[in-house]
């Protein structure tokens, strides 16, 4: 263990003396996050695709073919709105809320049981609430869905009032249609807004979290941090190839130090370096941009797992590369593709369809999701999959890296 720490300490000291590497690891992500944060104006979320909506229709209709819930559902799934809304129909309220919790939808619209009875009933005091369960980070998307659903409900209320007005004035012999309409409108206005029992009620995944403002800069810096952790890890891991070329690696193998100890020391150095990098970026993000990163347990877990993924992936790339330059070129390509697929530059809140699926094929995609949840106040329990899946990636990467290196340095 002493030798592992000795090797790690030696590498850490070398990294600390490498000014270009430090700039790349610390200054670049902060600068990029600043630029992107200012570009998007900071403060609220931004939409890049159709808003993902999950609809649960619990209404069973009011008989005689009257089903207001189905009407709302049909509007939300209509072709006219397909560019704005990507709506999926869920079988229960729990399933719709889960879609939001899992990041599969930005908003859940839950149409209550008895909705049609309220719409088509004659009781002006009857009320019915359509629930909007929304991801707090999707402020614009949530507002759009709220506006659409609110407009539909207002139309139903208007229809209820008109019907009630017509009933109130009763049959009038010889009255013209215009006179009948005027009488109904007068009766509706005298009702004093009694016919406004259809409401939109809002809920968020956890009490209080809907009020939390998740800054764009926070989301972007989280993405940049994960992205640059990959580069930081690669930079330190490349010392294996550098040492191989400068002869210190073969010389290490002539000392009574086991291969596993040497590789372990290298990994510890990589892990410690990028963990330190992440800590510096987290503190800088808090002090410079005022980012509230979230609960400490989640932040620590995500940081350590991200360091594990970045470190093990860097080792895997190094294990197959022949020269430091080759490792740099291959690594940069892989990291860029992973960043594009995983959403390091775009975040996750509004990702949809195939993009969401692809995002989950990358370890950084899961980490970005984890950071989104953490930024809006989620705890360790809320990000268990966003931690476990990347951890699985890290273990797999490390296993194959060690396997390859054992063969290479045999």
């Amino acid at each position: 263990m002493t030798k592992v720490l000795t090797i790690a300490w030696k590498d850490l000291r070398s990294t600390a003396r490498n000014m270009p590497a430090l700039v790349m690891m610390l200054v670049a992500p902060l600068a990029l996050a600043s630029l992107l944060g200012f570009a998007f104006g900071g403060g609220s979320g931004f939409d890049i695709a159709a808003i993902k909506v999950a609809v649960a229709d619990l209404d069973t209709g009011a008989g005689a073919g009257r089903n207001a819930g189905a009407d709302v559902r049909d509007i939300l799934t209509s072709k006219d709105l397909k560019d704005v809304l990507a709506t999926s129909v869920k079988s229960s309220a729990a399933a719709a809320r889960k879609a939001v919790d899992d990041g599969d939808a930005a908003v859940a619209v839950i149409i209550p049981q008895g909705f049609s009875a309220t719409v088509y009933g004659a009781d002006p005091a009857a009320t019915s609430q359509v629930e909007l369960y929304r991801n707090p980070t999707s402020q614009i998307g949530g507002s759009i869905v709220e506006g659409i659903v609110g407009q539909v409900l207002a139309n139903f209320d208007g229809a209820r009032a008109a019907a009630a007005g017509a009933v109130a004035v009763g049959p009038q012999d010889g009255a013209s249609p215009a006179q009948l309409a005027a009488s109904a409108a007068q009766a509706y206005s005298r009702s004093g807004g009694m016919w406004s029992g259809l409401e939109v009620s809002e809920r968020a995944p956890r009490a209080g979290k809907s009020e939390k403002d998740v800054s764009v800069t926070g989301q972007i810096l989280a993405g940049m941090m994960v992205f640059f952790m990959f580069f930081g890890a690669a930079n330190v891991a490349r010392t294996i190839l550098t040492e191989d070329r400068q002869g210190t690696m073969p010389r290490l193998f002539t000392t009574p130090t086991r291969r596993g100890t040497i590789i372990g020391g290298k990994f510890v150095a990589v892990f410690a370096t990028i963990t330190a990098q992440a800590v510096v970026l987290l503190i800088a993000g808090r002090l410079i941009f005022g980012i509230q990163w979230g609960r400490l347990d989640s932040v620590v877990l995500l940081t350590l797992v991200a360091a594990g993924v970045a470190g093990s992936l860097a080792l895997l790339i190094i294990a197959f590369a022949k020269t430091p330059a080759q490792a740099g070129a291959i690594g940069s390509g892989i990291y860029l593709v992973l960043a594009l697929l995983g959403g390091n530059f775009t975040g996750t809140a509004q990702s949809s369809g195939i993009f969401a699926t692809v995002q989950r094929l990358t370890p950084n995609g899961w980490l970005i999701q984890g950071w989104d949840t953490t930024l809006r106040g989620g705890g360790a329990g809320d990000i268990r999959w966003q931690v476990l899946v990347p951890l699985g990636f890290a273990v797999a990467f490390f296993f194959f890296a060690v396997l390859r290196m054992r063969r290479r340095f045999a």
Partner: protein
Amino acid sequence: MSIVEVKELRKQYDPPKGVLAVDGVSFDIEQGEIFSLLGPNGAGKSTTISMLSCLLKPSGGDAVIGGHSVVSDSQAVKETIGVVPQDIALYPDMSARENLVFWGRMYGLSGDALKKRVDEVLELITLVDRQKDRIEKFSGGMKRRVNIGVALLHKPKVLYLDEPTVGIDPQSRRSILDGILALREQGMTILYTTHYMAEAQELSDRIAIVDHGKMIALGTHEELVKIVGEGARVTARVDHYLEAMAERWREVQGVQKVDIEEDEAILLTDDPNEVLPRLFEAAAAAGSRITEINVTEPNLEMVFLHLTGRALRD
């Protein structure tokens, strides 16, 4: 007592068609001996050292170092040996002391023992004053000295030196050679590889000449030069009467042959120390004065040429 026993060591890269770098090399090294592997570049010297350092797995044969097999007990072998690689294998962004401390820990030293040993090695390589300077600021000779110092930290029983004087100035070279001789005085066993004939001749108790992966000759310097079957060569110039002098020198006891080439006489003898005074006496008796005289002993270059038909430097 042999501390190194090499038996039919063999290394083929990418078998079965790859290069056969070492082809059945066998030798023993006695405790406290300086043993040199002499041969041109590509002869297989470094590959042999790499196998004896447990860096390369032999394709065949084995070597036992201090009682431990390089094939089956590499960890114990690594504790027994110190390796000075051909190229400088140090961390350039670390100071000499930091390098020595790091490598000392890799050899299992720690605490006061490590500090004390680092101080001793810095004294030994005469870099106490520069111990805090980074390696990247050192001259080639100073780097070489640290490179050797690293291998001495754990006081190995056997020290491998793979061409440690390549590319350095004569002063540093002299310092390194003196250091190696001093280590031998302390009882250390040394395996030395070089393509410099003079170094092998000066340092070695025994020399193995290798070429194309095979050992073509083994023995002391004296034993090896006898392979050539030729005595020392004396070339002499006189102020006048060269042909008459040549006639007189042919009659001097110990002179085997005298030829004249242009303005100098070339004599062959088995014992130049005995013959030289007689040559001066004969010249004086004939009224001539020797203006220039050179003695060339048979050397390893001639041995290599004799055995392979090629010069060592080729």
